[in-house]
């Protein structure tokens, strides 16, 4: 049995999130999922975005990279290509991943790197005190939208499915057990795994509360749903308002970004020799 437990990831820092924040549930589930998979503090890399979610690194003892707002996915892909044996997880937010980093999200999905991205989806920019995020629903009143959000929201799930993600799921921060299982599945999936996590912002969103979600959520698995059809997945992913599904919407096995690189066939780049074997041949092309 692995000696790795949730305590493995303890640091001397305590969370600075608001009491009751959905980030707590996500953090606890992530630690449990990693412990369950036997991934310890030295064994993997978490790349964080910038936002409330991203502050997690301070109380999450594992190799971490807190970079720029929106740019977590490119950093994660570079690290993965450099060492594809390394588990790489992206902890991002709806603004980070779908606003500032929207283009990176689409292109990561199309490449299918073996990376798992967890989107903290609470419809607001919490760290900047509550402006609307790209997933904010029409009519939702925030600091930047006093009359209600004018635009249509981005749907992370339909976007991920159409862009080519090979694992697309949604979880709820208020369901630790269900979320831990989804996280473990997402991390284990070989390919680009998108886990959208619904998360109440207790400070800046008085509408989408824990009870609001609890009264609407249902689990796909209880309905005998199989996650192997893109069109069916799209249909479910577009359900909102009265009934909101959680669980795995779509999953397929496909060549990953790393599988397609001939240089990575035997060893990770980081383990390859630095000297050139065929220098004479290489130089001769120019003679």
């Amino acid at each position: 049995m692995s000696s790795i437990t949730a305590d493995t990831f303890k640091t001397s820092f305590l969370p600075t999130w608001c009491p009751g924040c959905g980030d707590f549930g996500i953090w606890l589930s992530l630690k449990d999922a990693l412990a369950k998979l036997g991934i310890g503090a030295d064994d993997g890399l978490i790349v964080y975005g910038i936002g409330c979610h991203g502050n997690m690194y301070d109380w999450m003892k594992m190799y971490g990279f807190a970079g720029l707002h929106g740019r977590a996915l490119p950093v994660a892909q570079g690290a993965k290509l450099a060492n594809h044996k390394l588990p790489v997880i992206v902890v991002s937010g709806d603004g980070d991943c779908l606003g500032e980093g929207g283009n990176h999200f689409i292109h990561a999905a199309k490449r299918n790197p073996d990376i798992c991205v967890m989107i903290h989806d609470n419809q607001v920019y919490g760290l900047t005190t509550g402006q609307a995020s790209p997933t904010a629903k029409q009519g939702f009143k925030t600091k930047s939208t006093p009359e209600g959000v004018m635009d249509e929201p981005v749907n992370p799930l339909t976007l991920a499915i159409t862009a080519g993600a090979t694992f697309v799921a949604r979880g709820f921060a208020g369901d630790p057990q269900g979320l831990t299982a989804l996280m473990a599945a997402a991390i284990e999936h070989k390919g680009f795994a998108v886990l959208d996590i619904l998360q109440p912002c207790v400070t800046f969103d008085k509408v989408h509360t824990y009870p609001w979600y609890r009264s609407r959520l249902y689990k796909l698995e209880t309905e005998g749903y199989t996650a192997d059809n893109k069109l069916k997945a799209m249909e479910r992913a577009m359900e909102w308002e009265d009934k909101i599904p959680v669980g795995i919407f779509y999953k397929e096995e496909k060549q990953t970004s790393e599988d397609r690189e001939p240089a990575l066939a035997e060893k990770p780049l980081v383990e390859l020799p630095l000297t050139i074997q065929n220098l004479d041949e290489l130089v001769h092309e120019f003679v």
Binding site: D42, D58, A66, G78, V270, V287
Partner: protein, 575 residues
């Protein structure tokens, strides 16, 4: 001897220059190939210039000795560049130029390009092959010299294509031998070949330097003038065991390269000014998380999209000041393919040793011009220094749980670096200001300690800053000051000035930042007449010198029309 060929874009103008250069380089001559073309694929005017000489030289001269016009426009655009006795090769079907069309007395050489190609069932695009045969005959060289290059060029396309191209080149060659006699003024004397030479541009030389330095990862969004580097890395990714990734934009590119470097491999990006503008936030990130990173900034004419396929040295000050906040960096600027190779190797070692971004500042002129480089120059031993990268035996600091990646107690400000996956090396690479383990901090004392640590690196780098290179004698009456690609034309200009009895000296910077101010003071202070030579409108090197030494260079020779300097124009301006 300078050969120029012009014609419509899409007619193989650029590749004919490379083939001619390769033929003469293989025979032991010294060559330089430059190109001029607009930012489109078909229909514009393309020009290639090849200088071939028996002795080494540094740049093109202004005079063209053989002008091959594959269309009438070539004559209209380039007739001012001819010298006394220049051979003007043209197809009578494009119209007959008259002697009075040229400012100097030229020799007209009619060649029925279209007819020769048609007779041999070739495509119109093969007129450039006729031109190669014509040229070799005019220079008085052996046809076989060209035939072997054609064979290598078209080998992959099969014997039929090879033979047809050889036949078409031979038709051009024979046409000259039959109609023009056996001797022309352009005959080049034989040379003794010493060793194999590469025909290589600075982008490819930079790529070669990078892979010899152990580059493993590059993320480069396509952009003129660095596309030849992409081609080199992508073509050899499999055989060299490297990953070249085309990112969705330059922002992704630099962040991918930072991720790969963080994970322990040597990585780089390359771009031009516009792409680099997008990378600036990432540059700042590399500065604070202290990952080694090499950036090839291939300058072209700006602002914005500017003149995308033309050359300029407009981004020295941009590279020095790019990025929000303060952090150390190193800026190197090669002047040709050879220096692009060596400085790139240096760049990777410096990046690892000091854990900073290092620029290799190139420009369109050197990125896309081809030089001959002796094979031994790029096959010698290469020293790879990964600095304080540690992969085993790591232990956390006493009383803490993580590896002290950013420890502040080192003399040079460079702290031992672990990589993800290494036992005992866990830390946080943090773009927020951080403590020694990478945890966020806004504490006054800790912020000061961390800034001091990072800036200590600048002082350590300054100790290694290389002084400018001095060409010429210290008693010279005029002293040129330059950086990057201006070196070649200035050195040629100095040869011309010497012929006029004027002694000149050049103080040239390949290492630009941190600026070698002490050496600069020593070298520039006694000079009587200083002339700053740069390809920009503001004198960016002169400003840097003024900033760091107080020395004001009043006389500036600034060029910003997108064309490199010609030695003759430098001479004209100083005499």
């Amino acid at each position: 001897m300078t050969w120029k060929i012009g014609g419509e874009a899409g007619f193989g103008i650029i590749s004919s220059g490379t083939m001619l250069a390769r033929a003469y380089s293989r025979a032991g001559y010294h060559i330089l190939v430059t190109n001029e073309y607009p930012s489109l694929i078909r229909g514009g005017h393309n020009v290639v210039t090849v200088r071939i000489a028996t002795e080494p030289f540094e740049s093109l001269n202004r005079d063209v000795h053989i002008l091959v016009a594959l269309n009438k426009e070539t004559i209209n655009l380039h007739k001012q560049e001819v010298a006394e006795g220049t051979l003007v090769v043209f197809d009578p079907k494009d119209g007959e130029p008259g002697a009075s069309d040229f400012p100097k007395k030229v020799v007209l050489v009619p060649v029925p390009f279209k007819d020769l190609v048609t007779q041999l069932h070739g495509e119109p695009v093969m007129r450039n092959t006729v031109a190669l045969g014509v040229t070799v005959a005019l220079i008085g060289s052996d046809f076989e010299m060209l035939a072997t290059v054609i064979r290598d060029q078209f080998r992959k396309k099969g014997d039929e294509i090879v033979n047809q191209n050889i036949a078409i080149a031979k038709a051009g060659y024979d046409h000259i031998k039959q109609t023009f006699g056996t001797e022309t003024s352009m005959y080049l004397s034989q040379v003794q070949k010493k060793e194999d030479q590469l025909v290589i541009n600075a982008s490819e030389a930079l790529g070669l330097g990078a892979v010899r330095a152990g580059l493993k990862f590059a993320a480069i969004y396509p952009m003129t003038p660095i596309n030849a580097l992409i081609g080199f890395l992508a073509d050899h990714a499999k055989s060299l065991g490297i990953v070249y990734k085309q990112p969705e934009d330059e922002i992704a590119g630099i962040n991918m390269a930072i991720g790969a470097s963080l994970a322990g491999v040597r990585s780089m990006v390359a771009t031009s000014g516009g792409g680099f503008a997008l990378m600036v936030e990432g540059l700042s990130l590399a500065g604070i998380v202290e990952v080694p990173l090499v950036i090839d900034l291939g300058m072209r004419v700006g602002p914005a999209t500017g003149m995308p396929t033309w050359t300029e040295q407009g981004e020295l000050q941009f590279a020095i000041h790019a990025g929000h906040g303060e952090f150390p960096r190193i800026i190197l600027a090669p002047s040709d393919a050879k220096e692009a190779y060596t400085l790139t190797i240096d760049a990777f070692n410096l990046a690892d040793r000091f854990q900073v971004p290092v620029f290799v500042l190139t420009d369109k002129y050197i990125n896309e011009s081809q030089w001959c480089v002796p094979k031994s120059y790029v096959t010698g031993e290469v020293v790879i220094d990964r600095g304080k990268l540690v992969k085993d035996g790591l232990v956390p600091l006493e009383g803490t749980s993580s590896f002290p990646r950013y420890r502040t107690d080192t003399e040079d400000g460079v702290s031992p670096r672990s990589v993800p996956g290494v036992a005992g090396g866990q830390y946080f690479a943090n773009s927020y200001e951080h403590n020694e383990e990478g945890h966020v901090t806004e504490d006054s004392a800790k912020r000061i300690a961390m800034v001091t640590k990072r800036m200590k690196k600048l002082a350590a780098i300054e100790k290694e800053a290389r002084p400018p290179t001095v060409f010429g004698e210290s008693d010279a009456e005029l002293t040129f000051v330059s950086w990057g690609s201006s070196r070649g034309p200035i050195l040629e200009a100095m040869k011309l000035l010497a012929k006029n009895g004027k002694k000149a000296r050049l103080i040239h910077y390949s290492w630009l930042y941190p600026f070698p101010s002490g050496e600069t003071m020593k070298l520039l202070s006694p000079a009587t007449r200083l002339i700053d030579v740069e390809q920009n409108a503001t004198g960016q090197l002169a400003a840097l010198i003024r900033e760091h030494t107080g020395i004001l260079i009043k006389e500036k020779m600034l060029k910003y029309d997108g064309r490199p300097f010609y030695p003759e124009e430098i001479v004209e301006k100083v005499i």
